[in-house]
Each structure stands twice: as structure tokens, then as C-alpha cells.
Subunit: 275 residues, 4 copies
């Protein structure tokens, strides 16, 4: 191995070294690079946020612009190096993080032509999800993976639930439009549907609220419905999580099946006794 | 079979063909018909919503009316054909979807006499529930059925819970009426009960809120109560869902364990092979 | 038995008959009496509510007063008969329903001296809880009992949770008072605590809301906390319900133990196999 | 034992006696001392709260100050005695309650120089957590421990969930800033993020609410998201609690089943006698 390494042309050795620093976090330099990246992401997000505050922007506009240019140049170079050093370029470019890395620099160049797009830079925050890898926190990664998996597995049920909820909201909203049509905030069905969703999800801004007794009565029914059916997504995710829990727990000594429930005494795949 | 078919009078053959297109989705034409129906439902819902927005209605009133007339004629013809082609006419007419199909066209004809009833057309949205059959999505249907069943099985418990909640809200509302009677929003017991429900369900519009220290103290108790008892419907539905999961599945022939996963080949409790 | 009955003095036979009508619902007259009672309770509640609405009271004050007098006289007579016909008078008078029955008539007589106490009549609604017995709905009674038991068993944990929540709200409220002291709604610590509870329970009236950036930042933390810890009462009640479920399910054929879990194969009390 | 005791110098015997009164609650004096302490804590909290109300402070400022001085002197002496009488001084001083005891007196002395810090006295409320020990309520302590443990064990998952939620809120907030930038309450990204958190947690103050149709549409999506993902922390804590229930309990010596109820005498899975 060592030998082969020595025979490698200088260019390839460099590429390998860079790849390890940029993509992995198992060397000192790689870790430092990742932490530096994290700081830059936070700094960049912070600056975009501050830039949107008029009084800060008035005073510090130039500083903001300079820092942003520097960070974006760094991110651009990093993105280029990622593409250069990785073998399977296509896989990276169209992977979740590859797309995020690209979207993290795109708005800056776009904003040279269309200024408002600058704020899309906030999408850089998604790069923070790399944080899990950076600090090599296996437990955190498992937990994050646990949440995402539970949500993904419940998603079909939740979509159907939301479809039911939307149909329900549109119908209730239309009824309220007929009942409270003259009142501000219920002038049209879309407006009333907006109110219905605000109510059924128990958000309750209060920018729109019923005025007539009949309207209030309907609202009360809607609130009670919302208060009751909030149980549905909760039930779905809870049941899913109870199931998923095990996946990260024990595994069968014979067949390696790692979906062992807490109360299992035999592996459900091969029938082996669970230790 | 083939023969018998050939002997059928032309009229009956046509009826069978139409029945299959309209009611089933297992032929190409049947699928196309269903998708076309879905588009019409969405378009119709969209137009009713837009028509309720004054500025759109002012500009496009004629277009809206024409499209609505066309869609309603189509729906009427479709409804007639459904009744003609099906054998068991009574069963269809009084089934859930039969009633929906009827209610989807009724408001239009009613609105010729009483204009406001036009907005009941929004009930057409319920026809969207056919979407599950249209795309032949068995998994989606199962999930929808799962949610509906869990809610249906929990419904008696939830009704009792809502009865408790209503009695509680009326009593708390009356107390608040005595405490805050002079303040706007608490002028009568029904008004105060409305406020109590808004609070206990954690909606909290803020159109009515307590003014006196004692009133605020009572509100705090009510909020804490609402925050705690939201657990009740959630607990009911979650327990029900966990149960449904098991009921829908297999059970072990030896030990009767009914928590058998879909991919299980052996009972996790006694090690028996799952048939 | 029959004989003994015949020898009973007329007075006692009447008492027995009345007792059965008033307290039980297993005879036709008893059922009718209970339904009549339920109607009166609803009517009385409705009238007290309507009386609090100024415009209705202005028009119909006399009608309201007359109906109320009649209903209260009926309830008073009924209360007297209940005491007369029952054997164990003390047990009834100090039972839950005995106290409710008394409180249902007290406010009327009190209101002759102190008018405002009239609205306490709303407590009559609690008599509606008899509804379960009236309609002899065993299943409904079981479900109501199920909810009450689950809440009772969880109550100690929920009280402790609420104690934590109160301490937390007082501390957060005090911090907000120091941060936003000059803003309306945060002028004193009790006011700020009120705001903190409104926020942490996700009610969010909006009658008080933070104004300074630091205040908004603290609010965001508080909301996220409230959003997360709502899981605690839910978790408590759900776990309790899952446990309680069984109590109404199977029971052991040998020892009669009726606390059989869904996945139990042996009775946990006597070790008998569960069928 | 008795003898050894007699030979102890007077000073040490006093120290032992005091230690038992102050730190324990197993003697009559110890119990009285604890209850007295609890009353003082409540009184002190109450006075700090009342002092913050302008009208009360105007009238009773002197009384408040005097009572506060007396209570603080008592707490200071108590704190000194605690340090003197305990053997392992370091352990106490840096323990949770040691720090609370110190923070309970610090703000008073600080407030002699910086008046506003007086309100930090509210931290004294945390001393109330001793209430569990005071009344020697083992069951309550277990339940409190149960809640704290369940939250602690779920905390890592909940932190990750909140991290996801924050990233999500920042991105949604930025989008709303671009959509509704001209409207009051959306003038900057931090403001819009504040709104996004208010919405996604279903608090919904209504101090900021969307004005444009597109803004309302985005809000509706955000609310539905918030309504759905509230299931995540609930699912996490519920699963954890169900587990804790089992962990705190016994397990079967034959089959390892760890779902053994408190009153179980036989394992419900294998029928083995529970030891």
C-alpha cells in the first residue's frame, strides 16, 4: 500500500489529501476544516439576517457586503474543490448535500442581477445539518436519523390526514363565508378558509375572528374538532416511533436482523432465541 | 362466456361498458374518465372560491358562470348515467358517495332561485375522496381507512370527553361572566362560554381577554387545565391506533400473540413459525 | 316476598314505588321521569344563559323568572322526595350527586337576597352527568369511567408537572418584567407571569406581546419550551390509558383478575393460562 | 453508641443536632423547621411579586422592605448554618440545592448597589423544590423523578428536533420577509423568524399576521406543518415514558419479560412466579 502510494503522481496524492480534509472528519485538519466551515455558515446566516434590519444595514452596509463576498468566494472555491477531489462527481452533485452546497452560493451571483434574491442565501443554514458529521457525534446522528425515519414512515398517513383536514377546512370556511360574509376577514372563501386553518390548528392569531352568534357557535365546534383531531398525527407518529425504537437496539446473533422488539424473546426472522 | 356476451342486446352491452368506465378504474378509459373527473372537481372548487372574491368576480363573472354551467351539466349527466348503469340503484343512491354526487349538483339548481346557496357547491370537494380509488392506490386507501377506523373506534370516548369539556366550559364561562361582566366580550354567559372554549382549546384569538386580576388568575387556571387535558383525546387515539395496528395483522397460532410484524417469519414470543 | 309486600303499610309501599321511579331507570315511569328531568336541566341551563344576554332579558324577563321559579320548585320537591324515599339519607346527602342536587337549588333561594348569585344556577348542568344512568348506556358509562380513572391515576404526576410549570412560568415572567418592564402588559411580575402562562400553554391571546428584540428572543425560547413539554402530560396520560385499557377487557377464568394486558398469556395474579 | 455520644464535646453534639433539624425531616423539630422554611419562601416570593406592582409598592413599600430584610437575614443565617453543620462542605456548596440556596440570598445584597437585581430574588422559588423532601412524600418524589428522567432521556432527541425546527423557522421566516417585507412585523428577517416561531408552535399572538394572499397561503402551510410535527416531541416523550415504566420495575427471571406490573405475582408471558 505504502509503495503504491509513493508511485502515485503528485497531483493525485494532493487530491486524495484534500478529499480527506474536505469530506471526512477523521484527521485533525479535516476536523479543523469542518469547524471553520460551521463558523462561516453561522457568520454568513447572521450577516444575511442583520443586513435585513434597516438600522444595521444603514450603518454597516459595506462591512456586510465585504464579509459576504469573502465567504461566498470561499464557499465557491470549496464547492469547486469538492467536485474536483471526489471520484463519483455525478453522485455528489445530485446528492442532498451537493444540491445544498450549490444553492448556498447561487443566490449571491444571482443577486448581482436581481438584488432581492440575496436573501435566499439563508438556505446556507441547511449546510449546518453537516454539523452531525463534523463533530462525529454518532449518537446525535442516530437520533436525528430516528426522527427523520419516523416522520418519513408516517408521512403517507400524515399526508392523507392533511388532505382530510384541508377538505374539512375548505367546507367549514365556505360555511363561515355564508354566515359572516359581511364581516372583515370573511369577505371571500379563500379568506374564510385561511381563518378556518388558523382556528383548527389552534394557532388563533385573532386577526380574523367571528362576530355573529352563529359564527361563534360554528367556531366553537371547529375548535373542539381541532382540539380532538390533533390526536391523529400524534397517534400516528407515536405508534411509528415505538416501532422504530427497536431498530437501533439489539440485533439477532444468528441472522443479524436488527428489528428486535423490546418484548421479543425469539428473533422474528430466524426464530433464534434473543439473548 | 364469450358467447353469452354476443347474445346480449346492444343496449345492455353498452350499459356494462359504461358502468365499467364510470365506476371502475381498471381499464384505460375508466382511468382517463376518473382523472378527468378529478380535474373537473378541482376546477369547480377553484372557480367557486374565486367567484367569492369580489375583484375577480367583477372582472370574470361571465367566464365563471359559463364554466360552472358546463361542469354542472357534465356532473348531472354523469349522475344520471351512474343511476342508469348500476344494477342496485337504491344502494348507490343512498350510499355515502351517492349522496355526495347528488349534493354536488343540487346547489347549482337551487341557486337559480336562492343565489346564496351557490356556495354549497363547495361540497363537491368531498368527491375528491374518490381520488383514492382513481389512482388505485391500495396503500393510501389502507392508510385512510386506518385513520378513519381509529377515529371511529375512539369516537364514543371522544364524544364523552367533549361533553365533559362543554359542561366544564359552561361553568367556567359563567364564573368569568360574574367576575368580568362589565368588560367587553364577557357581557353574557354565551359570550363568556365562547371565550372559555377559545381558551381551553389553546386557540386564543385574543378578541376577548380577561382584564381584572381575578379574571386573569382564573384564565391561568383554565389554560393550565386545557394544556393538561389535551392529553386525553391524544391518549385515546394513540391507544386505539396501537391496537388497530395489531388487529389488522396476523396472530400466532401457538401462543396467540397478535403483535406480528409484516416481515415476521417466527413469533417473537414463542418462536413458532408464522403461517 | 310477595306476601311481605302485601302486609306493608300503604305509606311504605308508596315510598318504595317513588324511590324506584326517582333513583332507578329500570321501569317505564322511572325512565320517563329521568328524561323529563334531563329536559328540565337543559331548559334551566338555557334560560340562565339567555337571561344573561341583555336584549333577551329586556324582552322576556318575566317569562324567564316564571319558568325558573317553576323548575326550581320542581327540583326542590324532587330533592325532598329523594331524601324522604331513600333509606340511607346521610350517604345520599353527602354523595357527589347529593351535593350537586342541593347546589342546583340553593342559588335560586340565595338570589332572593343577593341577585348576582342567580348565575350559580348554571351548576345545574352537572346534573347532566346523570345522563349516563338515564339512558342506561353501559358502554358510555364504561368509557366515561375509563377517562375519569385514567385522569385520576395520572393526576399526581400531572400536579407535579403543573408545579414545575408554575415555578418555571414565575421565573420566566420575572425575567420578562425586568426586560420589558416599561411596556404595557409587563408592568408588574404578576402581569408578566400571566403572559408567560399564556405563552407556554400556546394559547397566545396577543393582548400582551413582547416589544424589544431581547424580549422577543426570550419569548421564542419560551414558546419552543412550551411546544416541547406539552409532550409530558400527553405521555403521562397515554401511558396510563394503555395500562387502564385492559381493565375493561378480558378477565381470568380462575381468579377473576380483570387486569389482563393485551399481550398476556398467563394471568399475572394466579398464573392461569389466559384463554 | 450512647456512651460515645456522652463523651462528645458539647460543640459537636450541637452541630449534629442542628444538622438533623436543618437537613433532615425525620424529627419533629426538623419537620417544623422545613414547614417554616416553606412558608418563608412562599411569603418572600409573594412580596417580591407584590413589590413589582406599582400601586401596592406605593402604599406598602416600607413593610415590604422590612419583611424582605428579615427573611433574607434568616436565609443568610440558615445558609451559614448549613455550611457549618455539614461535613462535606464542598459537596453541598456546589450541589444543585447549595447553589440555589446561595442564589436565594445573593440578589438582596447585590440590590443594595444595583436596585433592579432585587427581582432576581424570585429565584428563591426554586427552593420550593425541597417541598418534596419536607413532606416526606416518597410517591411524589418518585413521580417527580419519573418526569425529570423521562425528559432527560429524551432531551438529546428533543434538542435535535428543536435544531431542525429552528433551521426550518429561519428559512420560512426569510421567505415571508421577501413576500411580506413591506408589512409591519415583517420588516426584517429576525422579526419574520419571530413570527414563524409564533406560528409553528401554534401560539399565534396575532401581533404579527400575514396580509397578502401569498403570505396567507405560506402561513397556512406553516400552521399545518406545526400542527403535524407537534407529534414528534410527544412521540419521543411517550415512548420514553413507556420504557421508563418498565425499567423502574422488575423483570421475569425465566423469560426476561420486563413488563411486570407492581401487583403481578406471575409473569404474564411465561407464567413463571415473580420473585
Amino acid at each position: 500500500m505504502e509503495r503504491e502510494h509513493n508511485y502515485m503522481p503528485e497531483r493525485i496524492r494532493w487530491k486524495r489529501k484534500l478529499f480527506r480534509i474536505i469530506f471526512k472528519a477523521d484527521t485533525k485538519l479535516g476536523k479543523l476544516f469542518d469547524i471553520f466551515l460551521l463558523v462561516l455558515i453561522l457568520l454568513s446566516t447572521f450577516i444575511v439576517m442583520m443586513e435585513s434590519v434597516r438600522i444595521f444595514d444603514a450603518k454597516l452596509h459595506k462591512v456586510f457586503v465585504i464579509v459576504e463576498v469573502i465567504i461566498t468566494i470561499f464557499f465557491t472555491v470549496e464547492y469547486a474543490l469538492r467536485i474536483i477531489t471526489i471520484k463519483n462527481k455525478k453522485d455528489y452533485i445530485f446528492s442532498f448535500f451537493g444540491i445544498i452546497d450549490f444553492l448556498a452560493i447561487l443566490p449571491f451571483y444571482l443577486s448581482l442581477f436581481i438584488p432581492i434574491t440575496k436573501y435566499f442565501l439563508i438556505i446556507r443554514m441547511l449546510r449546518m445539518l453537516r454539523i452531525f458529521r463534523i463533530l462525529n457525534l454518532m449518537d446525535f446522528m442516530n437520533d436525528g436519523y430516528f426522527i427523520v425515519t419516523a416522520l418519513k414512515n408516517s408521512s403517507r398517513k400524515i399526508y392523507i390526514f392533511l388532505l382530510f383536514l384541508m377538505i374539512f377546512s375548505v367546507i367549514v370556511g365556505s360555511m363561515m363565508f355564508m354566515v359572516e360574509g359581511d364581516r372583515e376577514g370573511f369577505e371571500s372563501i379563500p379568506q374564510s378558509v385561511y381563518w378556518a386553518v388558523v382556528t383548527v390548528t389552534t394557532v388563533g392569531y385573532g386577526d380574523v375572528s367571528p362576530g355573529t352568534p352563529l359564527g361563534k357557535f360554528l367556531s366553537v365546534l371547529l375548535m373542539l374538532a381541532g382540539y380532538s383531531i390533533i390526536a391523529v398525527p400524534t397517534g400516528i407518529v407515536t405508534a411509528e416511533m415505538r416501532n422504530k425504537r427497536q431498530e437501533l437496539g439489539k440485533s439477532c446473533s444468528r441472522c443479524g436482523n436488527n428489528d428486535i422488539d423490546d418484548d421479543a424473546r425469539f428473533c422474528k426472522i430466524c426464530g433464534e432465541k434473543v439473548v
